[in-house]
């Protein structure tokens, strides 16, 4: 029996016992049909479609660049976007969806390229703001998972050079804060519309990537380096919020855990890097929600941020080895310590 059939069977049982109303049964039935449709379009296929769309979009841009040169891309891009929205909402089938995706990507790139030829101000400032508004408008209009996933990346990728170029690395903390707050709000809401799933996944990946990118930028930046503590504070607050949020359903903690856990995370964030706290947030939510992609992202980025931190220590290799091994022994000692903590669950 497939998993969807198992769900359908359980729903049938609920119908026979009267626990769900006819309207609720009907709504669930429609959604289960959509899930079955989705099963014929697995992630692998969507990735292939996305690659094909990117290729077509590039070719369209190149072709128009030859013919219309720069400014002509603006009206072309607008036209492509309008057609993409129309196809997405009205078209059926693989060709329509792929054409819509290609036109949406080409239209977005075309508009941005056209705008750079038209505006008089600093392109580095105008383009990311323009892209942000474009994405906010297109997100509800264009029901395409690939586009919705790529949209936040495009905004951050365009904003990052401006932040670095203008030496305004304090803005990176603002960016991290926005990503963190948006991610936590979306992922821990009681009701989660499927339209926001691509955005959730994008933010889960974007948060550690943004922290990593700006951490590396600080390394190559000429001194003095701006401090990382604002991001660390935000992420520490985010981690505590996640642990206390009802959606995580953390069981009642004993007094030892209530003191030990926040203290441990605070020390972790202070001594290592804010990125490690972001990885912990992903791991905790992944564990609570049983979401594999969050566990994988957290598991990948935690060693990355640990590695970046230890690599950046300004000591020779021998001393570095002692620091690393010592940190490991400290964590193993902590493990021994927490083994004696009570869980806070009442025993019957």
């Amino acid at each position: 029996m497939t998993d969807l059939e198992a769900v359908s069977r359980q729903v049938d049982i609920l119908r026979s016992t009267g626990e769900l109303s006819p309207a609720e049964i009907e709504a669930i039935g429609i959604r289960l049909q959509e899930y079955a449709e989705e099963a014929t379009k697995p992630l692998f296929l969507r990735v292939l479609l996305g690659i094909g769309a990117w290729l077509v979009a590039t070719l369209l841009i190149v072709a128009v660049q030859f013919v219309l040169q720069g400014k002509g891309l603006l009206p072309c891009g607008l036209a492509w976007l309008m057609v993409a929205v129309g196809l997405s909402r009205g078209g059926q089938g693989i060709f329509a969806s792929q054409l819509a995706m290609a036109l949406a990507l080409a239209g977005n790139i075309g508009i941005l390229t056209g705008v750079t030829h038209v505006i008089r101000g600093d392109a580095l400032v105008v383009i990311p703001v323009f892209q942000l508004f474009l994405c906010l408008i297109l997100y509800p209009l264009l029901p395409n998972a690939v586009f919705r996933f790529a949209a936040p990346f495009s905004v951050v990728a365009l904003a990052a050079p401006w932040i670095v170029e203008k030496d305004a690395l304090w803005l990176s903390h603002l960016l991290v804060g926005v990503e963190l707050i948006l991610f936590v709000i979306l992922i821990l809401r009681k009701e989660r519309p499927p339209a926001y799933f691509p955005l959730e996944k994008a933010l889960a990946l974007l948060l550690p990537l943004t922290l990593l990118a700006f951490h590396l930028a600080r390394i190559v930046h000429e001194p003095p380096l701006p401090p990382q503590w604002p991001s660390g504070l935000l992420l520490y607050g985010g981690l505590l919020t996640v642990l206390l949020h009802p959606a995580v359903e953390l069981p009642p903690l004993s007094r030892q855990w209530k003191i030990g856990l926040p203290a441990a995370f605070l020390l972790f964030g202070l001594f290592i890097s804010p990125g490690a706290l972001a990885a912990l947030i992903l791991l905790v939510i992944g564990k609570a929600r049983d979401e594999l992609y969050l566990k994988v992202l957290g598991g990948l980025f935690l060693p990355v941020f640990l590695g970046v931190y230890y690599d950046g220590l300004d000591v020779d290799l021998t001393h570095k080895a002692w620091v690393i091994a010592g940190s490991g022994l400290l964590l193993l000692w902590m493990r021994r310590l927490v083994s004696n903590f009570r869980t806070g669950e009442k025993t019957p």
Partner: protein, 340 residues
């Protein structure tokens, strides 16, 4: 409240569908809780998870610290000490593998460690005795020395590592020796490597059919198939896009046809696998796009050709995706994709 049987419907995907229904407000909370009470982590689960996290990260840091210590002091160590250290480590790993046996994961793990240490020893020998060996020779020697362990190890991961060494050795040979001295094309090495990969794929499928436990994991099939397809597609694309032609490149065409055709029949009917079919169809779309691109864009001038090429690529990739989606839909309806 109806009592729910959880026996066959506790898979994570089933629970994911229910979570989605609940998240979209379609399932009342009381019903949702009845379905998912088993999946909510308890205090004991969180306790175990946190301790496991500390164990994994703590152990990893200690091991990394040891490696960094030796890396930092390596240059200053005497050769005799280096050899003693590595050979002691090698002996300990082999002994541990023998004690655990090749059937247990611990035995396979220690065989893997022994294989890695062998590679480090090969490099150390080359440095200390100034053999002047090239990188490809070191890799070839390494793969030869560990072949026995790999064969005895019954580990798909170890075999994949060994295959990677062989590929790296052959490709480095091509870069440093075959091209400068003999002017070999890439197809001259790609074709034999692809044949090797296809042979391993056939052996893996045979082993899987016979129920060999260590070959039941899913990842070797797409890995070997992707490797074979890439090694055959690259010379064919080189042949399409450039003006030169070599016998090895021509031979890659029937090899690709055989692989794609045989793979399609196998993974469509005998062992349904959407990822394998996707790889085959994608490689076909790529080659077809290359042919069309060569025909349309070979001569400059005619910007309209870019538009036409864009539309053709769209049609080719769309057709490929539609084909895959149809296969997926048919198989889901027939309850296939009962993966190995």
């Amino acid at each position: 409240m109806a009592s729910m049987k959880r026996g066959g419907a506790n898979s994570s995907l089933y629970q994911k569908q229910l979570r989605r229904l609940y998240a979209e407000g379609l399932l009342p909370e009381s019903v949702f809780r009845t379905f998912l009470v088993d999946s909510t982590p308890t205090a004991r689960d969180w306790h175990f998870w946190f301790r496991s996290l500390l164990l994994v990260v703590g152990t990893a840091l200690v091991l990394v610290g040891i490696v960094v210590f030796f890396a930092g002091n390596w240059a200053g160590m005497r050769p005799a000490f280096k050899f003693t250290l590595l050979e002691a480590g090698l002996a300990a790993a082999v002994l541990a593998a023998m004690l655990y046996g090749e059937r247990r994961p611990e035995g396979k793990f220690f065989l893997g460690i022994a294989s890695l240490i062998t590679g480090v020893l090969v490099v150390l020998c080359s440095q200390v005795y100034h053999t002047g060996a090239d990188a490809w020779e070191l890799l070839a020697g390494w793969s030869l020395l560990i072949f026995g362990w790999v064969a005895a190890g019954r580990s798909a991961l170890l075999w994949a590592f060994w295959l990677g060494l062989v590929h790296a050795a052959v490709i480095l040979f091509w870069v440093h020796v075959a091209v400068p001295a003999y002017g070999f094309s890439f197809a001259a090495v790609a074709l034999p490597l692809a044949i090797l990969d296809i042979l391993f794929l056939l052996l893996r499928e045979q082993g899987w059919s016979r129920g060999l436990e260590w070959l039941q994991e899913r990842w070797p099939r797409p890995l070997l198939l992707a490797l074979s397809l890439v090694l055959l597609c690259l010379p064919i694309m080189e042949m399409i896009l450039s003006s030169g032609l070599s016998p090895e490149q021509i031979l890659c065409v029937p090899a690709w046809v055989l692989l794609a055709g045989g793979g399609y029949i196998r993974y469509r009917h005998r062992s349904p696998d959407l990822i394998a079919l996707g790889l085959i169809i994608s490689s076909g779309c790529l080659l077809l796009s290359a042919v069309v691109g060569r025909l349309l864009l070979a001569e400059r001038g005619g910007e309209g050709n870019f538009f036409i090429f864009a539309l053709v690529v769209l049609m080719i990739s769309g057709a490929g995706a539609l084909w895959l989606r149809t296969l997926a839909g048919d198989a889901t309806a027939r309850k296939e994709w009962a993966h190995d």
